[in-house]
Amino acid sequence: MSTITGTLEAYQKQWRINRLGLWLFFISETFLFGGLFVARLYLWGDTRPPLDQKLGITITLILLISSYFMYRADTAIAYGDQKGLMNNLLVTFVLGLIFLIGVVGFEWRGEVRPSDGAFGAVLYGMTGMHAFHVFTGLIFIAIVWLNARKGLYTKERHWGVEACAIYWHFVDMVWAFYYPALYLLGTVPHG
């Protein structure tokens, strides 16, 4: 995500260092998301609030598919394909945006309110924290797309694209755990 100066060797050494840093960051983030996951198990036990199942599976699929396009974007630049990079980033961005609208615009308009006991707290806590990360991921994609348009990424030098891609996959993976925790585990009580 920066301009190209210095020798290729130096760039790639720094790339390896950056990659380690990013993965350590994910380990750290795993504890954050893990903490909320534990809170869900602790407070909800084998119950869960009534949620729109169709909406849940739809936005989950959309997010998973977006990761596929992100993968294509990363692969494209590894082959030096500028156009492929930009097109796939755009598709990823749109899918991510649809996911975000699905969460904030529809899921958050359901019958559960934030102040509704542990159901509300955990539901909004988990989806809110995840949605915040999706939101930052979208900003990241937008920045990479703009820089890609300036032609700043090449076959050998595209750390920015890789960072953006792994970040997106990570956020996606988190949802792969959160979706079943919110929508599938436990049963809806008849209050």
Partner: protein, 638 residues
């Protein structure tokens, strides 16, 4: 005047004020537009304002400037050396990417914060010297006592970061940290965080103790909110700093420095950073959940069920959950505080005993052992809390296990001293003082770790005595030892030995007195965090002694500050290696030049081969002969 306004710190402060005002205005405006009543709602407005204020500070101080340029696809030069056209001292008051500058920034901030927190302690200790309410009402007492706790923790984290930042790259022969910009960011974000904590004193105070247990913390005044957010921000710094240390150690060691040839302090830093990187997220999370409960009425912890919640059949919130999340960090956190200090002890003992560190690998592994076992012991803070009953016994076993690697450290230290050739300049005195104080802290631990005795000891002054002894022995004493020891390396001048020794001989007996008196009154029934005590317990003498000891310690620290300031200007010029150490940072001139190692070095032997004639740890590679150049390609670091 122009220089003044060009200082990053000043710009940052302006940024924070503007940001806070903007944030508050924005929320209030939005509420007005959306027709919410009342339009002025302090909790959401202030929490958003505080966060925008922090962002404003970071923009103002210039810690994000390069990143913004990268986002725009612009090139940035790699900053090195003092800012051009400005006096050299200004670089300490603004964003600078050199790990040595950042290390000093951390260190000075740490001492300032510790002094502020210490003054707070003196205030409430004076109140407690006599039974009855003297000059501090109970809410004021709670605010001062709670702020003392959280400020000390922040100060200790800063001190830990200071030692790691300055020393780790020097010890492993790296030209700087792996991510210099992230390093500067991680330092500077502490400042707005600390300002939020201090602002809490003037916005209604708070009364929960540093642990911020809900539901009390969800009902406390506005100051509580600022503390929660401030601590969150400080925690963020801790995470980013730890990440940086880990990457630096794993990727930038000098050739020949295998893992088991690293200086022992580097091992301690790795163990500390593993904890800080991961567990810190959970104190952040638990505090954010309290903020969410206050601002959005999301009842994670308070068993309040709205009408809607009853209709949905929602389970209630649970206050115990907070304690699980909180202690999952906050117990390992004490190892974050003490492991670097214990590393300093292990690092300096061989130098002053003129003997190799006894059982190097065992000491290194014991740090890692403490760090890993430390993840499994949080429940011992909750033995009386109403935690799940079946967790009590396993948590007791894991807690007591920590005694094993800690014991290994003690035995190894004593064995290092045995048959050495000991000298006792100030740093060595503080190291020995650290061992003795940490011993008090360590030995008073197992009774608290055993469930049945803890049912008695929990939340008493015994616990206060216990953890102050571990913090002083594990951090404060070694930190002071490190300050005296590396003072000549950092400044090129020697501190005043007489004043250093005076500092030691006041502080050590003072601390023993304070610690033992705290434990004694605790056993008699003195509870923690009380604004007034029951004279019927027969502890009035003990209370007076604790207060007097507190003042002695404070006075001795004043002596140190005086010593450091005067020696900085007028101290005797130090020899490059006054301690005759084998460590790499002592093989280069003092103060350390801008580029630390003009010639890269190769590690040729174990780190502490004292006692073997002609021993050497590193050898400088002939100029140009090595491909391990300290050059960096610009602008690809984060």
């Amino acid at each position: 005047m122009q220089t003044f306004f060009s200082l990053g710190l000043v710009r940052g402060l302006i940024g924070q004020i503007v940001g806070t005002a903007l944030g508050i205005a924005l929320v209030t405006l939005l509420r007005a537009v959306m027709g919410k009543e009342p339009v002025w709602s302090p909790e959401p407005a202030v929490s958003f304002g505080a966060l925008v204020g922090v962002a404003g500070f970071m923009i103002g101080v210039g810690a994000v400037t390069d990143w913004v340029k990268w986002m725009k696809g612009e090139e940035t030069p790699f900053h090195h050396g003092p800012p051009e056209g400005k006096p050299a001292w200004t670089r300490y008051f603004g964003t600078d990417y050199s790990h040595k500058v950042i290390g000093i920034q951390y260190g000075v901030t740490s001492i300032v914060v510790i002094i502020i927190a210490g003054i707070l302690a003196l205030i409430f200790r004076t109140e407690l010297a006599q039974p009855g309410i003297q000059f501090l009402d109970p809410h004021g007492f709670n605010t001062v006592m709670s702020t003392h706790g959280i400020a000390m923790i922040a100060g200790i984290l800063l001190g830990v970061a200071a030692m790691m930042n300055y020393l780790v790259p020097l010890m492993i022969g790296a030209s700087d940290m792996a991510f210099p910009r992230l390093n500067a960011f991680a330092f500077w974000i502490n400042v707005p965080g600390l300002l939020l904590v201090i602002a809490s004193l003037f916005t209604g105070g708070w009364d929960t103790g540093w642990t911020a247990y809900p539901p009390l913390s969800t009902r406390a005044p506005l100051g509580m909110l600022l503390v929660l957010l401030g601590v969150y921000v400080i925690g963020l710094s801790s995470i980013l700093g730890a990440l940086n240390i880990l990457v630096t150690v794993f990727t930038m060691r000098a050739p020949g420095m295998t893992l088991f040839r690293m200086p022992i302090f580097v091992w301690a830093s790795v163990a500390t950073s593993i904890i800080a990187l991961t567990a810190t997220q959970l104190i952040g999370l638990s505090f954010i959940m309290v903020v969410a409960e206050r601002v959005f009425k999301m009842y994670f912890f308070t068993p309040i069920l709205s009408e809607g919640a009853k209709e949905l059949g929602s389970p209630p919130g649970n206050a115990i959950l907070f304690q699980h999340l909180f202690w999952f960090y906050s117990h390992p956190a004490v190892y974050v505080f003490v492991l670097p200090g214990l590393g300093i002890i292990s690092e300096l003992l061989p130098v002053f005993a003129r003997k190799p560190l006894f059982g190097y690998k065992w000491v290194a592994m014991s740090s890692l052992g403490i760090a890993l076992v430390g993840f499994l012991v949080w429940g011992h803070h909750m033995f009386t809390a109403g935690m799940e009953e079946h967790l009590r016994v396993p948590m007791m076993y894991s807690t007591l296990l920590v005694a094993v690697p800690t014991g290994v450290k003690f035995f190894s230290w004593v064995a290092t001293l045995w048959e050495g050739k000991l000298t006792f300049p100030t740093p060595m005195l503080f190291i020995l003082g650290a061992i003795s104080v940490f011993l008090i802290g360590g030995l008073s631990g197992p009774p608290n770790g055993t469930v049945s005795t803890d049912l008695f000891l929990h939340d008493t002054y015994w616990i206060v005595g216990h953890f102050h002894a571990t913090m002083f022995g594990g951090f404060v004493f070694p930190f002071f030892a490190a300050i005296y020891y590396w003072f000549p390396k950092v400044t090129g001048r020697m501190y005043n030995e007489k004043l250093g020794k005076l500092h030691f001989w006041l502080m050590t007996p003072g601390f023993w007195l304070q610690s033992l008196a705290q434990m004694q009154v605790g056993l008699k029934g003195m509870r923690r965090r009380i604004a007034d005590y029951d004279p019927g317990l027969g502890i009035t003498t003990g209370q007076i002694l604790i207060t007097i000891a507190g003042f002695i310690i404070a006075f001795s620290i004043l002596i140190m500050v005086y010593n450091l300031i005067v020696s900085l200007r007028r101290g005797e010029v130090a020899a490059p290696n006054p301690w005759n150490s084998l460590s790499p940072e002592w093989q280069i001139p003092s103060p350390v030049p801008e580029v630390s190692y003009a010639q890269p070095f190769v590690v040729v032997d174990e780190p502490y081969a004292y006692g073997r004639p002609g021993a050497t740890y590193i050898r400088f590679a002939p100029a140009g002969a090595s491909d391990h150049k300290p050059t960096k390609s610009p602008s690809q670091e984060v």
